[in-house]
């Protein structure tokens, strides 16, 4: 049931022939999971929130960086260093208090995807790498959830809806992942700020149509839109039951399947690690070959007061990273070995190599 204020808020929907109060209640009862609160995730979330999708899950383990701000329009300069899912939900709650948000600050993996997807009616893929895209596709096949897909490249975007009413899946178009390193993501290629806004709006529109059961859903079609010449084309996709069946047959092994390896991303994403025992040895020897980077907050214990330790809390890394010597081997540590991994990903994007993560963090000290 819509309350009085909701009736006013959504009055422009309610006066539409094929929405009405009944349609607005469908939107209110819908549960949608948005994977990635980045370029595509931001506009998707803003429109899903505005139209009154009642339950929205946001999963993103990344933090807001300065270089995100030209396109990820939910975020402001003061949000730098904070988790994207949390910042997004905070802003969206102000946009529409009648929406419930579930915030997941962790990474989507094959270990948690199935249980997470089970809680939602519809999944939206706004991720930025192939291994997560295949993972999301397979998990939506296994859980039987429709998947709204969008992806961008410089000035072009692709949109489709997979696994909808027994329709085709991502693997029916691209059964094989691309060759290693052949297709970089936005952070390496560049992307014009408005492109994810346009493609994300198409994605939100597909999600709304699916919930309302109106119009023609972009299932069985891959839309490609070029913003430089405004050409848009829909390619028909044939369902490839062999590819879908392979995923269904692998159901039980899903949690063991190595998507990074499958997508040839293993080499570029495997991060060197050391244990606390090895770190202690380096400390004791005062080994000057290494540079130590502590990304914890100043108050976190145990403190490492050696001169050789650089302390930059993760949420300030974007502004202060240039004091880290790019030519030295750098051991990055935090309390539990998770923020340090995030820091390594950020530094790698800035051109740093020779980064080593302290496995399991200082908690083991």
């Amino acid at each position: 049931m819509l309350n009085k204020r909701e009736n006013i808020r959504y009055s422009r929907h309610i006066s539409l022939d094929n929405v009405g109060i009944e349609g607005q209640e469908k939107l209110k009862n819908a549960k949608i999971l948005v994977i990635g609160a980045g370029g595509l995730g931001c506009p998707v979330l803003q429109y899903l929130t505005a139209v009154g999708i009642g339950n929205i899950g946001i999963i993103d383990f990344d933090i807001v960086e300065e270089s995100n701000l030209q396109r990820q329009i939910l975020f402001s300069t003061i949000d730098k260093g904070n988790n994207k899912a949390t910042v997004a939900a905070t802003k969206l709650m102000m946009q529409n208090p009648f929406v419930h948000f579930d915030i997941y600050e962790n990474k989507l993996t094959n270990k948690n995807a199935i249980e997470l997807f089970e809680n939602y009616d519809l999944i939206i893929d706004g991720t930025d790498n192939f291994s997560t895209r295949y993972l999301v596709n397979d998990a939506s096949i296994i859980t039987g959830k429709p998947l709204v897909y969008g992806a961008i490249h410089k000035y072009e975007g692709q949109v489709s809806v997979f696994n909808y009413n027994n329709g085709p899946s991502y693997r029916c178009i691209f059964p094989d992942p691309p060759k290693a390193g052949s297709i970089p993501n936005c952070s390496k290629l560049g992307v014009i700020g408005v492109l994810p806004g346009i493609i994300g709006s198409f994605m939100a529109n597909e999600a709304i149509k699916i919930v309302l059961k109106i119009g023609e859903v972009l299932s069985g079609k891959l839309m490609i839109h070029n913003i430089l010449n405004n050409h848009s084309i829909n390619m028909n996709i044939k369902k490839n039951m062999n590819e879908i069946q392979k995923v269904i047959d692998r159901d039980l092994e899903f949690k063991e399947f190595d998507y990074d390896l499958f997508c040839n991303q293993k080499d570029s994403h495997s991060i060197n690690e050391i244990t606390i025992v090895e770190l202690k040895k380096i400390f004791d020897k005062n080994d000057s070959n290494y540079q130590l980077l502590d990304v914890r907050e100043k108050w976190e214990e145990p403190k490492m007061n050696k001169q050789s330790v650089i302390n930059i809390p993760l949420n300030r890394i974007d502004d202060e990273y240039d004091i880290i010597d790019i030519n030295k081997e750098t051991i990055v540590f935090c309390q539990r070995g998770i923020q340090s991994l995030q820091c390594i990903e950020i530094l790698e994007r800035k051109g740093y190599k020779n980064l080593i993560n302290l496995k399991e963090g200082m908690i083991k000290w």
């Binding site: 490249h153 691209f174 297709i183």
Partner: protein
């Protein structure tokens, strides 16, 4: 035989254009692909699929005069 080729994403960057018409005979997509790789050897390193007249097809699909053939790479960005 005359066909129109449409290039997308990194493939349009490689060819330096969004589309072109070519006149040459080949029986199927596979033969077209190897001809394009002869012109642009770098194409071999890229992943892409083909669509003929807006239908995504396999490499054994035949080609006829006047077909519009698109080369579609997957995109990663989000």
């Amino acid at each position: 035989m005359k066909v129109k080729l449409l290039y997308y994403g990194m493939i349009s960057e490689l060819f330096g254009k969004n589309e072109e018409e070519i006149e040459q005979s080949f029986r199927n997509i596979k033969e077209l692909k190897s001809m394009l790789i002869d012109i642009k050897p770098k194409l071999k390193e890229l992943s892409f699929i083909f669509a003929v007249n807006n239908e995504i097809v396999e490499e054994f699909e035949g080609i006829k005069n006047g077909d519009i053939i698109a080369l579609l790479p997957p995109f990663a960005g989000g």
